[in-house]
Structure formats: C-alpha cells, structure tokens
Amino acid sequence: MSPLLAAPVVALAGAGLGVALYRGVFARLIARSAPAQAARLEGNSLLLFFGLSIIVQNVVALAFTPNNRAYAWAGDVLRLGSVAMTGNRLAALLVAGGVCLGVAVFLGRSVFGLAMRAVIERREAAQVVGVDVDRVQWVAFALGFGSAALAGVLVSTLEQFSPFSGFPFTIAGFIVIILGGLGNVTAGLVAALLLGAVETYGVALTSANWRSVLLYGSFVAALLLFPNGLFARRLRA
C-alpha cells in the first residue's frame, strides 16, 4: 500500500487508539484525583503513558523483531527552479503543513477550539460555563494520537525506524510545546521551525555526535529559561 493511502487509515486507527486509551485509562485517572492535585495527576499520567509506551514498544519488538527497517518510496529528486527536493520529503512537507494548518484553524477559529483552550486554562471553570469537558478531552486525545500516527507514517517514508525510535520525537514534541506555549498552535509552528534550524545547523557546524546533545540541551534550556514559552504574555493574575 502506498504511504499516501496508508496515512489516513493509520491516522484514523491512531485516533481510535487515543479515544480507547482515554476511555479505558485516562478518564479513570482523572475521576480518581482531587482537583487540588492537578500537578500530581499530570505527573502520574506521564508515568502512565511512559509505561504504556514501554509495553507497546516491546510487544511490537516481540511481534516484528526489534530491528531497524526502511523502505523506499518516491525517492526521486524533483527540481523546481533552483530548489531540489526528493518526492517523499515534499509529500511529507505538504501533508504535515496541511495538517498543521487545519489544526491551527480548527483550534483558533472554532467554538470547539475555544472550549479546548478553556479546559487547558481551568477545567472546573470551563465545566461551570457549560463546556462538555469529557467531549473536549476525548476529541483532544483523538486529534493528538491521530496526528502523531500520521507523523509516524511521514517519518517512515524518510528514515529507517525501529520499535524504539519514537522517543526522540516525544522529546522534540515537548520542546516545541514548551517553547510555543500550551494551546498556541501558531507559536508551536514557529518553535518547531526554530528547533529544526538549531538541530540542522548545529549538526552542520559541529558534528553528528552532538546531535542528541543539542536536542536535549535545547530541551533543558527551554524548560528552565522559557517555562511559559517564548511568546508568553504575562496574564497570570
């Protein structure tokens, strides 16, 4: 199956998995915790999903061997004027850009996006003014898992991968979220481009050995220096 055809299927499956995990696991965790302990709830949910990812990685490794795999798809170089690019990278760029744009518009312009930002800001208050918190949360899980699954398909057309190659992407995702700030998709895009530039030019200027140092270094720096994001407006009362 062509990756372009597989992508929507995988994204849907990912979204389904997200909803299933939300219903089966996360909703229970929320239901059990007192609101005053939100920080611990979030810490626990991180451990929970870390545990889940260990299980999934190793089950997949048992089922399909833990080796690196790759396949070739649309590797021909396309030229447009002075710009040269392989077809798979162009496809990844277009699909990812489209998804980002769609999500940004959806979250930024729709009532649902407004509701979601309200839930991020203050869950109880959102509930009081009539937001269906449960629905917002499961849709968020579906969107998040679905687009992550889609990104996985896109990455698989570019690089070799193994059951264990996901974690650096999680870290990269974290950096982008922290730099961009929660609930701000446009700033996230800028942060992602920034991180990509730091990684690419950093490796070009030093050596491939330093790639992970740069990645985790920007991660630690981001958390310590910009805990509210690069573009934080001071609105804490």
Partner: protein, 307 residues
C-alpha cells in the same frame, strides 16, 4: 497485641533479608552472590530515589544521572586515585551537581519535572558520550578491580546507609515538611515550611548514594560503556520498584525491590523484551489501580478506611 503483630512481621522481614544478604558471600556460589549484589544495588538506588520523589511528589525520571556520574568519575580517575577516596568523591560530586542544578530544576513542577529530569539525564549522557568520542575512547576496561566480596560488602554498606537515610528522613521534622509540600506547596509555604530549601536538600541527599552505587558497580562490571551506565531503564526500574512497594517509608521500596528484583533475575536473561513489558505493565497497573502500592494493600485493612 493487634498493633504489634504487623510491626513484628516487618522486623522479621528486615532481619531475614539482611541475614540472607549478609551470609550470601560465605555460602553461595558466584551467581547467587551476583543476584544478591543486584538486589542490594536496587535497594540502595530505590531508597535514595524515595528521599526526593516519594517524600515530595517530584517524580524524578532521571535518577540514573547520578549513578552514571559516579561510575564515570571512578573510571576516569582509575589507578590515579585510590578507591577509598574515589567512591566517596563520586558521592560528593553528585551531591554538588544536584545542589547546582537543583534550584532551577526544582522550580519546574508536575509532568514537566518528570520529563525535565529525563531530559537532563539524557543531556549528561550524550555530553559524556560526545566527550568520550572526541577523545577517541568508545569504551574503557578496568584492570585490577577488587574482588567480588569487597564489592559486595561495599554495596551492602551503601544499601544500609540508603535505608537508614530514608528511614531518618521519613521520621524527621524535615520529612514532615517534605510531606506537607507534597500535599500542597503553597499551603506549606504559608505555614512557614522553607519549601525551596527543603526540596533542594532532599534532592542533594538523594543524589549522593546513587553516585557511590554507580562507582561500586563500575568495579563489578570492569568495563565501561557510557550508554550502559546512563541507561534510562535504570531510572524506570527504580520508579517501578518504588511504586510497586508504595508507602512513604523504607518498607515499601524493600517489598518492591525484593519482588521486582527477583522477577527480573528470572526473566531478564531469558526474555528481556517480556521483562520490559512486565515493567511497563507494573507502571500502568500501579499508577492506575494500586496507587498506594503493595504496602497499601497490606496495611489498608488495619488502618481502616482510606484517607
């Protein structure tokens, strides 16, 4: 009488564990001594992890960073510094490292703290790796390490020290301060608990022992690979053991270490992937369904009702 029975049971478990581990090198073969050594290692690591993470609720996913730094220091100073100096120095170095990074790191809370400690450990790992690669050493071998019995009793001492430290912390005024900030940091601060200082102290205290454990384990393995002494799975295993045990005194980690340590001996060699699945499952099941750990299951009927 009813109150005394569980305490006697616990005293018995501690005494039996210590007696078996103490006698092991004199009666058992090298394999069993190795098993005992790894139990002692996990005991020391998990108890020290609890000093910060069980007491304050700041769950560290980067405990391995201290372990790795300790191992690295011993390997770097190998045959230039006597071990009786190098091992305590490893502890001091890690405590100093914790004191320096602690202030900014401990300002970060909740899931961000969890992932930050992971990122920090990976950052140190890859920095050491890049440094080693730049100096052209991919791995190192230690010649003339002390024999197994010496390593074993050094680890025994560290495990004892770790249990003593956590027991002291969990019973002290300091420990009650940590518990109060775990429940509600702002309220604790309002009541006059020096929150920032207590957190930092807990972080520093929890850092020294794992570094010395790493230093001693480097002597046991006699070779040194950066990726191995900074393996994130060490942090994960420590968390799984602590959560499995539950509670916020030294009993919980003991139960967790005995259970998971022996299980890993059974599974690790024959089915490493299966072992990882079990580890992940323990994290999921205990975070979700048994947040008070095995200890909570034991003690709930006696305590009568949950908090």
């Amino acid at each position: 009488m009813k109150d005394l029975a569980p305490n006697a049971w616990w005293a018995g478990l501690w005494a039996a564990t210590l007696a078996v581990l103490l006698a092991l090198p004199f009666v058992a073969n090298a394999y069993l001594v190795g098993v005992g050594l790894s139990l002692l290692m996990w005991l020391a690591l998990t108890q020290s992890w609890c000093v910060l993470s069980k007491m304050t609720g700041y769950v560290s996913l980067g405990h391995v960073v201290f372990y790795g730094l300790g191992a690295y220091l011993v390997v770097v100073t190998w045959q230039q510094l006597p071990l009786v100096l190098a091992v305590p120095l490893a502890g001091l170095l890690a405590a100093a490292f914790a004191a320096v990074v602690g202030l900014p790191v401990l300002r970060v809370r909740g899931p961000y703290f969890v992932i930050l400690t992971y990122g920090l450990a990976e950052l140190v790992k890859f920095s050491v790796m890049a440094g080693e690669a730049a100096s052209g050493t991919a791995s190192r071998i230690l010649f003339g390490t002390p024999e197994l019995t010496v390593v074993y009793f050094a680890m025994f001492a560290l495990a004892l020290a770790s249990v003593a430290l956590f027991t002291w912390v969990s019973r002290s005024r300091f420990g009650h301060g940590l518990r109060s900030l775990r429940e509600n940091e702002e309220a604790a601060e309002t009541l006059g608990v020096p929150v920032a200082r207590y957190k930092l102290l807990a972080y520093v205290l929890s850092a020294a022992i794992p570094a010395m454990v790493g230093a001693v384990m480097a002597l046991r393995s006699t070779y040194f690979v950066v990726g191995q002494v900074f393996d994130p799975m060490i942090s994960v295993t420590v968390i799984a053991m602590a959560i499995l045990g539950g509670g916020d005194n030294a009993r919980g980690p003991l139960v967790g270490v005995l259970f998971l340590g022996l299980l890993s001996e059974l599974l690790w060699a024959s089915a490493p992937l299966l072992y990882m699945i079990v580890l992940g499952a323990i994290l999921v099941v205990f975070v979700l369904l048994v947040p008070d750990g095995l200890l909570g299951l034991f003690e709930r009927p006696r305590a009568g009702g949950r908090r």
